[in-house]
């Protein structure tokens, strides 16, 4: 790998948590060219040249992984004059291959890339059957595919990755840690905002400054109303009271936001007319959330619902 590419991988490790929901089977390339130990090194060479690939997994009749042949090996075979020999004696044997299991996490994958610096890693199941292959290009492709569905705004960007509570942690983990919980379950607009009203009361009781409560309430209200208007009314509000501020997490099980960057634009709205008559649909909800919070993270995918995380930092002398 060149310097630049290595740098890319170490850069990725900064985003380990953001993409923690990606697993080896999400990332791997599934359309594979394989050979068997009985094929010749010369055949591997032709395939690598014609298909421009840098390594070929070697499998047995049942599709189980038995080895790997890389371009480096082919180059050496050419130098040693053994290119017309069979693959079986010259491949990297199974026990020396660093591989992944389908459920291996993004974090583990990036760490493995950093540690071993091989070009490609097979993904195999518990019976040793070859399922796919992961190169750094596959990682990049998987990440780029996520970008339409993630939005991050951060006033103090450098601190983002170190926060304890995160939208990206598992649902169970954060639900257990929440100090406030409200289940949204209504399709009626006149009930939307109840969760926010309750949260506001709790914040008042805890003695937060008025301006701070206002920021939290505005952001939470907009997110809650979006769940009712755009996501079928089923959702969850969680709040975490931390030393340096409050984190609010709102998720729903609605249709998701197709293009988050578009949705973030002031004035963009898909609200139907009968909703607009009630005063909603200015397309200012998401921009208001961004303004109110110090950090806004939205994770959404078509058909998979939407998760919103807002961090409100207590500011010295202000709140």
């Amino acid at each position: 790998m060149s310097e630049i590419e290595l740098d890319l991988i170490s850069h990725l490790s900064e985003y380990k948590r953001i993409f923690s929901f990606l697993t080896a089977e999400d990332i791997m390339k599934k359309e594979l060219i394989t050979l068997t130990p009985e094929n010749y090194l010369s055949e591997a060479r032709v395939i690598m040249r014609d298909k421009r690939i840098s390594g070929i997994p070697i499998v047995d009749k049942e599709g189980k992984l038995v080895g790997l042949v890389s371009t480096e090996r082919i180059i050496r075979a050419l130098e040693e004059g053994i290119i017309s020999n069979k693959i079986k004696e010259y491949m990297t044997p199974r026990e020396k291959i660093v591989y992944f299991s389908p459920k291996d996490t993004f974090e583990k994958i990036v760490e493995t890339f950093e540690r071993y610096r091989y070009g490609r890693y097979p993904v195999i199941d518990e019976h040793n059957k070859l399922l796919g292959l992961i190169t750094k290009h596959d990682i990049l492709r998987a990440i780029l595919k996520q970008f339409h569905s993630i939005y991050i705004h951060d006033r103090r960007r450098e601190e983002y990755l170190n926060r304890e509570v995160s939208i990206l942690a598992s649902d169970k983990f954060i639900e257990d840690k929440a100090s406030f919980r409200y289940d949204i379950n209504t399709q009626s607009i006149s009930e939307a905002g109840e969760g926010t009203a309750l949260l506001k009361k709790v914040l008042e009781k805890r003695g937060y400054h008025r301006d701070f409560i206002r920021r939290v309430s505005i952001g939470t209200y907009e997110a809650e109303v979006n769940v009712v208007i755009h996501a079928g009314g089923k959702g969850l509000i969680l709040a975490f009271f931390e030393e340096d501020g409050v984190v609010v997490f709102v998720r729903d099980w609605g249709p998701g936001i197709e293009d988050i960057d578009l949705a973030m634009k002031e004035g963009f709205s898909t609200a139907p007319d009968h909703i607009r008559e009630l005063g909603f649909g200015a397309g200012m909800g998401l921009p208001n959330m961004r303004r109110a919070a110090d950090r806004l993270v939205i994770l959404s995918q078509s058909g998979k619902g939407t998760r919103v995380e807002m961090v409100f930092n207590l500011k010295e002398g202000r709140d």
Binding site: I189, S190, A192, G193, T196, A197, K200, R210, D211, R214, S217, I218, Y221, E222, V225, L278, G279, F280, G281, A282, G283, M284, G285, P287, N288, R291
Partner: protein, 113 residues
């Protein structure tokens, strides 16, 4: 400006909040879009709006608004009046259009910021 003066200036009727007419109004704010109100209204503002749905009372609570005036002679929904009573948010109504209502209050010294 006191809420009482707002009422007189706008020749407004009062749906609820008679006991709060002495309340001091610090700012004014006008919009028909809820998200605009959330973005723009300062705490303690009087809101002039054409929104008649109960949602507007929730907004008043979230933003600590000092009162609501429904403009252009629209009648608030029953539910809105009930909610305003419950939450103790003064609710008034005027026949003036939004533009004219704002102008009259501005003339009397009320400002947006």
């Amino acid at each position: 400006m006191k809420l009482k003066e707002v009422m007189n200036t706008l020749e407004a009727k009062i749906y609820t909040g008679e006991e709060l007419l002495e309340r001091e109004i610090s700012f004014g704010c006008a919009s028909d879009m809820i998200s605009d109100i959330l973005a723009l209204a300062k705490p303690g503002s009087l809101l002039l709006t054409g929104i008649i749905a109960p949602q507007i009372i929730r907004i008043a609570k979230i933003l600590d608004l000092s009162g609501i005036v429904i403009v252009r002679g629209k009648e608030p929904m029953e539910e809105t009046i009930a909610k305003a009573k419950e939450e103790r948010v003064p609710l008034l109504g005027t026949k003036f259009l939004l533009f004219d209502a704002c102008g009259k209050l501005y003339e009397k010294g009320l400002r947006g910021t």
